[in-house]
Amino acid sequence: MASPELAGLYQQVILDHSKLRKGSGLVDGGVAESHQLNPTCGDEITLRLHLVEGSGSGLGSDSGNAGTAGDGTHGSASEPIIERLSWDGQGCSISMASASLLSELAPGLTPTELTERIALFREMMRSRGAGVEDDEPLGDAAVLESVSKYIARVKCAMLAWVAAEDTVQQVTAGRA
């Protein structure tokens, strides 16, 4: 009924997350908020970054997977840790599943580590189906690789991640 490609795009875990919508519902507090719109479809998301103080030992810096490794910006002993992302939005199943998967991934990471994950996710999304060498750091979100074959849907998958990137940048800019 549906082609293997389509079944690959809409894998069960994606359909599940599109209904689960982990992180959905804006939670009071948070250190930064970002609103992103996908102008092609009019869908949008508002996402908040919630941090807690932590020892941030820089998991990202020794995981070795990050495009930004070695730029000397991370691993400061005082870096806080992401408690959660909370968001509110509407969109297609890809965008909702992607926001949900991101919300599952983020807690426990430092902002720097999240930035690295976002860069990796973007690389995967731009790969046109080729994927990335090591998608482990993306956890379950790696399942979204199949979206990269559908150029018109890449923006859907990126929506929440762009919002998260924006919140992290706001925090970094504030600290700098």
């Binding site: 389509l6 795009l9 809409y10 209904k19 479809c41 009019g42 869908d43």
Partner: protein
């Protein structure tokens, strides 16, 4: 031109198949399925005849028009002006009442900027009657395409005038009572679509013209979804301006037209200025040619205009009554098929009367882009999104919808493949 010769009164599925064979793009596979193209409301496919005419122009005539005396220039000018005659005739107006533009959007902007230039005092005394002030009002409807909304917002912002929108009923139709209420002696211009690109509703233009004229207001008709699909007699409709786009009516991209009543066009100050629209130019000031040249600055879309005429010739050979009748038949079948599917909510009227051959709908629990993706997997091209009509979608309480829009080359098989596709979607996405 398959159908030009044989006299007939009923156009059926076999005729549609013969027409379809004239369109190279329809003869291809997409994702392993024969293409089912139901996105003509966005842009139409092009028959071989139109592509051939354009190519012939480039291989044999190509030259700058209305300039130069050499043979190619004379041939090109003749073809170009003959194209204007053909298209003018197709919509029932005189040659010098047709101005070429890039698309309908630019044509609407031309009028909006012409009025705004008049309001700034350009165009001399002839343009006095076209000035807008802070007391003026511009009236549109809630159902307009962004291209017939945003230019008026900007005109209002530039002149201080107020923009008012006639609200729509729950079924997407317009009540003349509301129009009577909103159109007043302050109204400078009423801009309204002939056929909605979302609901397919055909608006009561003659009545709206009467209301507008009774208040001394102009009426601009957005004929983007009517000119390609039904017989159109703009003089008989008595509208003041009308716009349409070639790419939606079998012609190339990059060409559209503005119709304006002769006296009105000649009173409207220029919009785009530059070469070919002037009489005498000094460093200090310039004189302007009469319409339509006044509005055609710089080297024009020559081959595209010629190709648009080939497209209207093609449509004319089929007969616009047959085009409209066949699309109505397809629209009826589409509507009936969709209304039977659980979770489908059709935007606009639930019956085929007064509706063009397109249907947009919301599918409960599945986002329109997921609907579109599923259909595309079967080689079915439909449009998903807000279709450049966000306010109208908001009116229906949705952000996006899925739209199937037909043209004369679509068949029963196309419609059935679409309906079958939609029927399978909710279970695929696990919402039932």
């Amino acid at each position: 031109m398959t159908l030009a010769d044989q006299p007939r009164t009923t156009f059926g599925n076999d005729d549609a198949k013969r027409v379809r064979a004239d369109f190279p793009a329809l003869d291809q596979e997409v994702n392993g399925h024969a293409l089912v193209y139901l996105d003509s409301g966005a842009t139409s496919q092009k028959p071989r005849a139109v592509l051939d005419v354009e190519r012939h122009y480039y291989e044999r005539q190509n030259a700058a028009v209305h300039r130069g005396a050499h043979t190619l220039a004379a041939l090109a000018t003749e073809s170009y002006e003959q194209a204007r005659h053909t298209v003018a005739t197709f919509v029932g107006v005189d040659d010098d009442e047709i101005v070429w533009t890039s698309n309908a959007t630019e044509a609407i902007n031309l009028v909006a900027y012409g009025l705004s230039n008049a309001s700034l005092g350009r165009g001399g005394p002839e343009a006095d009657a076209l000035r807008l002030t802070a007391d003026s009002e511009i009236v549109i409807t809630e159902g307009e395409h962004h291209s017939n909304l945003v230019p008026w917002q900007e005109l209002a912002a530039r002149t201080g005038a107020t923009l008012r929108a006639i609200p729509l009923q729950d079924d997407g139709t317009l009540s003349l009572d509301d129009a009577e209420r909103l159109v007043t002696d302050r109204t400078a211009i009423v801009a309204v679509t002939h056929v909605s690109n979302v609901t397919g509703v055909i608006n009561p233009i003659a009545e709206l013209v009467e209301i507008a004229h009774r208040h001394g207001a102009l009426l601009l008709l957005d004929a983007c979804q009517s000119a390609p699909h039904m017989p159109l007699d703009l003089h008989a409709l008595d509208v003041d301006f009308a716009v349409f786009s070639g790419h939606k009516m079998l012609a190339p991209t990059g060409i559209g037209a503005l119709y304006g009543r002769r006296a009105l066009l000649n009173a409207l100050p220029p919009f785009l200025t530059g070469g070919s629209m002037i009489t005498t130019v000094t460093l200090e000031e310039s004189g302007y040619l009469p319409a339509p040249q006044r509005f055609e600055a710089g080297t024009q879309r020559i081959s595209q205009a010629i190709a648009l005429a080939a497209a209207t010739d093609y449509l004319g050979a089929i007969g616009m009554h047959d085009v409209a009748a066949w699309e109505h038949t397809l629209g009826e079948r589409l509507l009936a098929g969709l209304l039977e599917i659980d979770g489908v909510r059709v935007l606009g009227p639930q019956t085929p009367e007064g509706r063009a051959g397109l249907v947009a709908f919301d599918l409960d629990g599945v986002h329109a882009h997921d609907v579109g993706q599923f259909l595309d997997d079967r080689g079915i091209a439909a449009r998903v999104g807000h279709h450049c009509a966000q306010p109208l979608h908001r009116r229906f309480g949705v952000t996006a919808s899925t739209r199937a829009s037909t043209y004369v080359y679509n068949t029963f098989e196309d419609v059935d493949a679409f309906v079958d596709g939609v029927r399978d979607i909710r279970s695929f996405f696990g919402v039932v």
